[in-house]
Symmetry: C2
Subunit: 436 residues, 2 copies
Amino acid sequence: MPQFLNTNDADFDRRFAALLEMKREDAPDVDTVVAEIIADVRKRGDAAVLELTEKFDRLTLTPETMAFSVEETDAEIAKVPAAERAALELAADRIRAYHVRQRPEDARWTDPDGAVLGWRWGPVSAAGLYVPGGLASYPSSVLMNAIPAAVAGVERLVICAPTPDGVVNPLVLLAARLSGVDTVYRIGGAQAIAAMAYGTDTIAPVDKITGPGNAFVAAAKRRVFGKVGIDMIAGPSEILVIADADNDPEWIATDLLSQAEHDESAQSILITTDAAFGQAVAEAVERQLQTLPRAEIAGPSWRDFGAIIICDDLSRAAALSDRIAPEHLELCVSDPEALFAQITHAGAVFLGQWTPEAIGDYIGGPNHVLPTARSARFSSGLNVLDFMKRTTLARMTPDALKAIGPAAEVLAASEGLGAHGASVAARLARLNSDEG
Amino acid sequence: MPQFLNTNDADFDRRFAALLEMKREDAPDVDTVVAEIIADVRKRGDAAVLELTEKFDRLTLTPETMAFSVEETDAEIAKVPAAERAALELAADRIRAYHVRQRPEDARWTDPDGAVLGWRWGPVSAAGLYVPGGLASYPSSVLMNAIPAAVAGVERLVICAPTPDGVVNPLVLLAARLSGVDTVYRIGGAQAIAAMAYGTDTIAPVDKITGPGNAFVAAAKRRVFGKVGIDMIAGPSEILVIADADNDPEWIATDLLSQAEHDESAQSILITTDAAFGQAVAEAVERQLQTLPRAEIAGPSWRDFGAIIICDDLSRAAALSDRIAPEHLELCVSDPEALFAQITHAGAVFLGQWTPEAIGDYIGGPNHVLPTARSARFSSGLNVLDFMKRTTLARMTPDALKAIGPAAEVLAASEGLGAHGASVAARLARLNSDEG
């Protein structure tokens, strides 16, 4: 059974703080190995990538076979059953329709002094998406990473997706094609991240790398950050459900298990205003764990990190939720909009009992790459802006420079930066002499 | 003299590539020391911060005197001469007016299936700004960091600004007040970053830390990233000027020196279509270095990292500029707008000969915290969105769930995630039985 907490218990504050501080991840320290792999790929390029692929994935490639050819891709995609293809197409369409609305607008205006100011957005030129191999090779994640990049207008979009022992997931290749990905390389690990960041003879370097991965991939992303942009380093998944008594405990139990089944380190929390309902959900979870296919993952997650919190009213629930800053937040209450208005920190919110979190994982439209480990306090889910950057612009006229230049001179002098001041002064001197 | 390159030279490509790859920074490896400082602050809180401040800043504080009091601040601000106060106020007003336009909009719509989708932006709750002490204690940087945070709606805004030997910069305190900063702590280094990230009895933890600093501060920011959000780790400053022959070589020389005077590692590059003009600028730089107050910094920067590149036409200049992806880009040409349209990667662009880069450092309105070291390929200058995060929202109706739920079930099955599919299936079963 998971932890039960009640806001009226004397030790609630201590136990809630302990829940927040719980260390769920025990990532192995692979930084030294990763540093060596990156150095090797920088030095030897393709040769290093091919050797490491042979070593880690037991797969012999050549520079020519590093990427899937169009023919191979066609053949793999042809294996996808019609129902799965249709589902993936619907998901791609809906994710695209949502993200298209995130395209930012340029701005340009003339201020009262006559200065033209503004900014212009543009896409990064090339993005590389990492897709894990094996069990965690999720086609939905391909859509969630690649479609925002494509919508941003990224010109060159590549994927690195290892195929250990040569085992290919046709759905990954279909998702890549539906998303507008140009090339899929069957390489993985830190060597793939290094190849995308620094380039090899075969793989042109990219400007931004996103996508989930194991400890090696995460360490490599941290190391290449600065050389290229990266997305957040994601931690184990989390869900918080706030539910009143007017819900089916079986549904809520399933929703909690839908995060728990991701990872033994995942965390599922229920906050409810009704203790009896909380008990009923706990019992439903135990029942469902008897038959859930991934019970051997969901069970430990729920026992070790799950919690049911009883509190007196929904305002308190909102305050507790903000301290958790959950990745996923389900509001299964009679007036979810009113409760949403009280929430400040959450990655993605699912309003009302007809919106299970799994809808958001696949097909709702919003992104499923979301901030974990309380980082929703300061960061957002993956979105179109992650693949764009903003260039600011300013254009002075002589009059504008006369109006604001002297203040710049004063500030430059106060900071002891002579050339800064002189660059303004020289132009003002010309203007004054032209008038004199 | 700096390097001269000509695109028509046989070895141009090699030399230009070498210019791009030039390692300008030789940051000392302080990571071990910084890790110890952070651990110490996490363990001993205020006591550690006070001891380290005594050690590094030769300043004895108590928890009560860690922050400037209102009275002290008033007294310091009273020392600021009227001209400097007026200049700082004008700068603050103009920076605020620019950044207010960056406030993002929420969105909410109903899709054809009846699903409500959207997102909501919100500010981070608390931000901490680092302001270096001593020579690099720039009031303009206080405005550039604090005003976007205030415009974003950040509730609690604090500054850590060390005062080695107790020397205070009154302009920093005035800039803080003009920007809406709540509290200024006179602490610095890795200990200040640790205190803001993890909190002490006196300093409440923040959610986002921005601002420049030395190698210790940069290493500490890297280490607390994830616990809190951080801005980019800035490298040495850079300027690229693209100029045709119709410019005063003295002005362009001053503009190049206005970056060179920041730091011996700064880089100033001129691209021009006129070799004689390039030569004239080089001579003007040498002349100005005779009298420039910070010549001992600007001189080495210009000699070691400066360059003058001659190329045949402005389209080529734009292409070279994109490979440099400069932090600051001045377009001193007859039609700067046409050239701007050809530029893809740059932090901030200054159009026309009346817009010296120094205007952007102080008073133009756009931010002066900008991506360095070619990171304008994938990142933007500091802006209001850096202090905000976006929560996505989705609300299904029974009809919407019936329309898109089955596809989610198919995808969940294809990824082997049973509870994901079951959370949709249970709700669809209810809807079907209600209808039956």
